[in-house]
């Protein structure tokens, strides 16, 4: 085997980007959209939940923390298979028509990244939160104000959790394959397109799409990194 497919991939990626290839833009936007929705949903649930777990005192707190830590290791294909049965027409949520839609894929990815988000966020808050919480309380802050203060102080860690979750969703294949089925123009995203081109033996094009995926991840992470740096 030579290096040809990789070199082809580099030039093909450059060509696709420079010519603003419509299909590539479409699937890249769809990847961003799906992972974006997923991160949004996961953070709406995950961040308050993490504050609760990290700063609250209630029975089962440790068990819950353990559960989320363990669930980080769930294989995407297993989660995808489980949700496929749920979303399928003959499944319990069939009437919601989530199968083969971006919304369905995003919901699946949100389930995937929730444990990652919670695990990271909880440890970020725990490393900063306890003294701060006591301090805020002593100064007479309300529950909500205290929570806000904790998140603000752990901001760097929380944003890292959000970025990691987004990256995980963006680069994930198992769930989008099972729930989206890689339908052209409907549910095709970067990772499923890469898998398809690899299966077809179009290795150069697969590499090109992979480089585009990596470029998007790098660009996004750079911007977020600048943002984080600026707020510290």
């Amino acid at each position: 085997m030579s290096w040809t497919p990789i070199l082809e991939g580099v030039s093909e990626a450059a060509r696709l980007i420079l010519s603003a290839d419509k299909t590539v833009i479409e699937i890249t936007l769809r990847s961003l959209q799906t992972a974006g929705y997923a991160t949004l949903m996961a953070s709406l649930i995950g961040v308050p939940l993490s504050i609760g777990i990290a700063t609250g005192e209630f029975p089962g707190r440790r068990a819950l923390k353990f559960l989320f830590n363990a669930m980080v290791g769930v294989p995407t294909v297993t989660l995808g298979l489980f949700l496929f049965t749920l979303f399928s027409r003959s499944g319990p949520l069939g009437s919601m028509e989530l199968l083969y839609t971006v919304q369905g894929m995003a919901l699946g990815q949100a389930d995937l990244i929730l444990p990652i988000l919670v695990s990271f966020t909880v440890s970020a808050i725990e490393s900063k939160g306890h003294e701060l919480k006591d301090l805020a309380r002593t100064l007479g802050a309300s529950e909500v104000e205290t929570s806000l203060a904790v998140v603000r102080e752990a901001y760097s860690g929380v944003s890292l959790a959000l970025v990691s979750s987004f990256n995980r969703a963006f680069a994930e294949l198992g769930i989008v394959t099972m729930l989206g089925a890689n339908i052209r123009g409907v549910t095709r995203v970067l990772t499923t397109a890469i898998a398809l081109e690899t299966a077809k033996g179009e290795l150069g094009l697969s590499f090109a799409l992979s480089f585009i995926l990596l470029a998007v991840v790098l660009a996004l992470n750079y911007v977020i990194d600048v943002l984080r740096g600026a707020t510290q």
Binding site: R89, G94, A199, G201, L227, T231
Partner: protein
């Protein structure tokens, strides 16, 4: 610098963030507001058929004539394609495994089966042909490959994934009179490994494996040509078309009585389109440009020569009770079987 809920934010960063948010929101808006009124016809299909690209051409043609529909293809192995249809998540299946097709119709989930194309599997192997099988029929060739395998001179790679191609391979081993469960475990002389290698992977991955190991394998023509042309593999065709390697593609409509999707009429339109003169003519030449060879033979024109070999072979291998779709499995078929 200014303050937002306690976060100190640099002005430049704020501009970057605002632009990012606007771009994302714009993308979402663009995606959500595109016309979605079209009814979606979901076709579950085998990977080997999808990856040739022929279905995307068919989609374009069908949608041009029927703008009210949007055809979506889900590319899966035959087994999963049938399972998806049974769960009510597809309107039509395009498959190539007659035994599974009959079972699908017997279970009440499929009606109106229609054969639309055929082609032949081939056996490929290393240029040096260590088993000396070039020009033989597939069954003789596979027997010789096993002999060479036992002697430590050749390897066979199997898909091992219950795909249509894998079903065909198993059927061919059955024709050799050997017991596949037993030969799978046979080790090659002077080695710990077996001469029969199970890949458990798709066709391209299996071809790559065969190429790396200088082994023989059974493949469909399209996937082979594509990988050969791309320089991924240097294997050559050693066994060509014949009765035993026949590969028949058919369409089966999901039974509207068991399917909640309510797309029966549209699905029948698509099946009629598949067997129309125009589509059949297009199938005959498809692939010349991209693969340098045609990939399919249209089935409908063959029916004009009922005494030909091919009609006899398809009748033997892919008909049930002397028909491509016995009457008990037909449902409002119109003139589909005229």
């Amino acid at each position: 610098m200014f303050n937002l809920a306690g976060f100190k934010i640099n002005r430049n960063v704020a501009v970057v963030a605002a632009v990012l948010i606007m771009v994302t929101a714009g993308g979402l808006y663009w995606n959500l507001t595109r016309p979605q009124e079209k009814e979606s016809l979901i076709v579950s299909t085998t990977t080997s058929l999808y990856e040739t690209g022929v279905l995307d051409s068919l989609k374009t043609r069908f949608e041009a004539n029927n703008p009210e529909y949007n055809v979506s293809f889900i590319s899966q192995g035959t087994g999963l394609a049938i399972e998806t249809a049974k769960r009510g998540d597809a309107d039509l299946i395009l498959v190539h495994a007659p035994a599974s097709e009959l079972a699908f119709m017997e279970s009440g989930f499929g009606v109106n089966r229609k054969i639309f194309a055929y082609n032949f599997f081939i056996v490929v192997g290393p240029e040096s042909d260590p088993a000396g099988v070039r020009g033989l029929g597939p069954v003789e060739a596979m027997l010789k490959i096993r002999e060479a395998g036992l002697a430590g001179n050749a390897l066979w790679v199997s898909r091992g994934d219950n795909s249509g191609t894998h079903s065909k391979e198993k059927a061919l081993w059955k024709m050799t009179g050997l017991n596949l469960d037993e030969i799978k475990l046979e080790t090659a002389e002077g080695s710990e490994g077996t001469w029969y290698v199970e890949a458990g992977a798709g066709m391209t991955a299996t071809l790559q494996l065969a190429h790396q190991k200088d082994a023989y394998t059974l493949t469909d023509v399209a996937t082979y040509l594509k990988n050969y042309k791309n320089g991924n593999i240097q294997l050559v065709k050693v066994v060509d078309s014949g009765e035993e390697t026949l590969n028949v593609y058919s369409a089966i409509v999901c039974n509207p009585e068991n399917s909640p999707r309510g797309m029966f009429d549209a699905t029948m339109k698509f099946v009629q389109f598949l067997v129309s003169d125009e589509t059949q003519r297009m199938l005959e030449t498809y692939g010349e440009e991209e693969f340098g060879a045609t990939l399919f033979k249209p089935w409908v024109p063959e029916l004009e020569n009922p005494d030909s070999d091919i009609v006899k072979w398809v009748g033997e291998q892919a008909y049930f009770d002397g028909s491509e779709c016995p009457t008990q499995y037909r449902h409002q078929a119109g003139n589909l079987y005229r």
